[in-house]
């Protein structure tokens, strides 16, 4: 009980507790702990409460039972330190890629009050970040001038620009083709290695989970609980080649077995 993220015995019902059986019991007695700087992946059947878990951690939803703490503090409002990215890139079409990246800096303190003074510094930071995901020189383009994969990279950059301690990724690569997806795995892997941030990744792709994560959590079908927790001991830095080794595939196979069970 001393992780960066701690959920203990958490139950959450949409529609509020007073909704009773009419509400949707999304997660029940969920306990999970993720250490500082750790990369955790959460897998589970569709509708089992993975996105709900993300919302509970970031303070976008509050449980009726159990406790949620992040960075040692009980979560009672949106956490303010998290970067989030989803399956849909949700960029603002009236802003250029660069302006989209600057959006978090217009909100998060202390950047917010320093934005005007340090504008050029922030722009340089954004451009550097874009370059690091292979989007150097695309800052002036509008989101709808970018491909789906490029938009997703921008969305990732937006989640990182304010250098959050916590990165929450909810199926960020779900809508991408296999090659782009693997490229972005490497982007995330390198970001994690370089910045030591805590990352929680929700995914349907077991290979993705095993390749990226230090630990993989398998959730049961709704109401979601953690069924299995599996440490991935493959040494870092991991190369894409590792996904073709027997060791890797055994882990994936094993996890698949748990999911199949979870769905029943």
């Amino acid at each position: 009980m001393s992780g960066f993220i701690d959920l203990h015995g958490v139950s959450h019902r949409y529609g509020g507790i007073q909704a009773g059986p009419e509400g949707v019991l999304a997660v029940e007695d969920l306990t999970i702990s993720v250490g500082r700087g750790e990369f955790a992946a959460v897998v589970g059947p569709s509708g089992c409460g993975k996105s709900t878990l993300m919302k509970l951690v970031t303070g976008l939803q509050f449980p009726y039972a159990g406790s949620v703490t992040v960075g040692g503090e009980k979560v009672s409002q949106p956490v303010k330190i998290a970067g989030m990215a989803f399956q849909a890139p949700t960029l603002l079409p009236w802003r250029t890629t660069l302006e989209n990246l600057l959006l978090p800096l217009e909100i998060v303190q202390p950047h917010r009050s320093e934005l005007r003074r340090k504008k050029s510094e922030y722009v340089a930071r954004a451009e550097k970040l874009l370059a690091s995901v292979g989007l150097g020189g695309f800052g002036a383009k509008y989101p709808w001038q970018l491909s789906g994969g490029m938009q997703q990279r921008t969305s990732l950059c937006r989640a990182l620009i304010h250098e959050p301690q916590l990165l929450m990724l909810d199926e960020p690569f779900g809508a991408l083709d296999a090659f782009t997806r693997e490229e972005l795995w490497c982007v995330i892997r390198d970001l994690h290695a370089a910045r030591k941030i805590t990352i929680v990744l929700v995914t349907h792709d077991l290979r993705e989970a095993v390749f990226l994560a230090d630990r993989v959590f398998v959730m049961s079908s709704r109401p979601g609980r953690i069924l299995v927790e599996r440490k991935i001991d493959i040494p870092r830095p991991r190369d894409l080649e590792v996904t073709f080794t027997k060791e890797f595939q055994d882990i994936v196979h094993d996890l698949r077995g748990h999911i199949v069970q979870a769905r029943q």
């Binding site: 919302k55 970031t58 998290a82 603002l92 709808w144 304010h162």
Partner: protein
């Protein structure tokens, strides 16, 4: 410019001219009496003969319409923002607004006359009442349809509701707002003319009413044409404004479903 493009450019004029030609032809072939349906040539003649009156009254109608429209823009924008801001206010006001919008504005004019007398004021207010609804609805829609995921991203950064409105809500409701102006301006004309033809001594509505009383049917139609021209010009101005202000929405295919 390619041939196809040229044709598209010319199409509005060709179709308009075609309409008048068919109209003229039909009146002549079927020998429709002028007091029933005057041919375009007779309408044009009336236009020419009564030009000073048509011109003066058109300006009066236009003025009332624009003042009513301006009120509708201000009020509609404000109410739309308030409704989009708070679910409670939305829930409370929406049924009222729908009920209000369902009332035929013809029925409201006598009340306005009771309060303000006949003439300019009821015309302005009728134009206002009939045209603010689409503006409110569109602005509120733009605010209410923010992607929940984007809202989550911003909230997890500690964004306040005001932040979300300023950074996302208002910019994204602008295309809806400017889109609604085209509808609102044409409705505003309808409102003005309704009021003028019931309770005014001026304006195109009144001109048409008088022409009707004196059986000057070509003049009635001339009034209609004057209104149509004003409506088209204002619509077109609003469309240009829309493209100018929110070109990004059209280029990105935003909200075009």
């Amino acid at each position: 410019m390619t041939r196809a493009n040229m044709l598209i450019r010319l199409a509005p004029w060709l179709f308009t001219i075609g309409l008048f030609v068919i109209w003229e032809g039909a009146v002549r072939i079927f020998q429709i009496p002028e007091f029933f349906l005057p041919p375009p040539t007779a309408v044009a003649k009336a236009f020419y003969e009564y030009w000073p009156a048509i011109y003066r009254n058109s300006l009066i109608t236009l003025e009332a319409t624009l003042v009513g429209f301006a009120l509708a823009v201000g009020f509609g924008l404000a109410l739309g923002l308030v409704i989009g801001w708070s679910r409670t206010i939305y829930a409370g006001i929406y049924p009222l607004m729908i009920g209000f919008n369902a009332i035929p504005k013809v029925a409201v004019v006598p009340i306005l006359v009771l309060w303000f007398g006949i003439g300019f004021v009821p015309a302005v207010l009728t134009a206002f009442l009939i045209s603010f609804f689409p503006i409110v609805v569109n602005v509120a829609t733009g605010l209410a349809t923010i992607e929940p995921e984007l809202e989550d991203v911003l909230k997890a950064l500690g964004a306040s509701k005001l932040d979300i409105m300023r950074k996302v809500g208002i910019p994204r409701s602008l295309p809806y707002f400017f889109g609604s102006l085209k509808i609102a301006i044409t409705l505003a004309f309808v409102g003005t003319v309704i009021s003028e033809s019931i309770a005014s001594n001026y304006g195109i509505g009144n001109l048409m009413l008088q022409a009707q009383a004196q059986f000057q049917v070509p003049l009635i139609f001339a009034g209609l044409v004057a209104l149509a021209v004003e409506g088209i010009v204002m619509y077109w101005l609003m469309a240009i404004l829309e493209t100018r202000m929110t070109g990004w929405a059209q280029r990105s295919g935003f909200a075009q479903n």
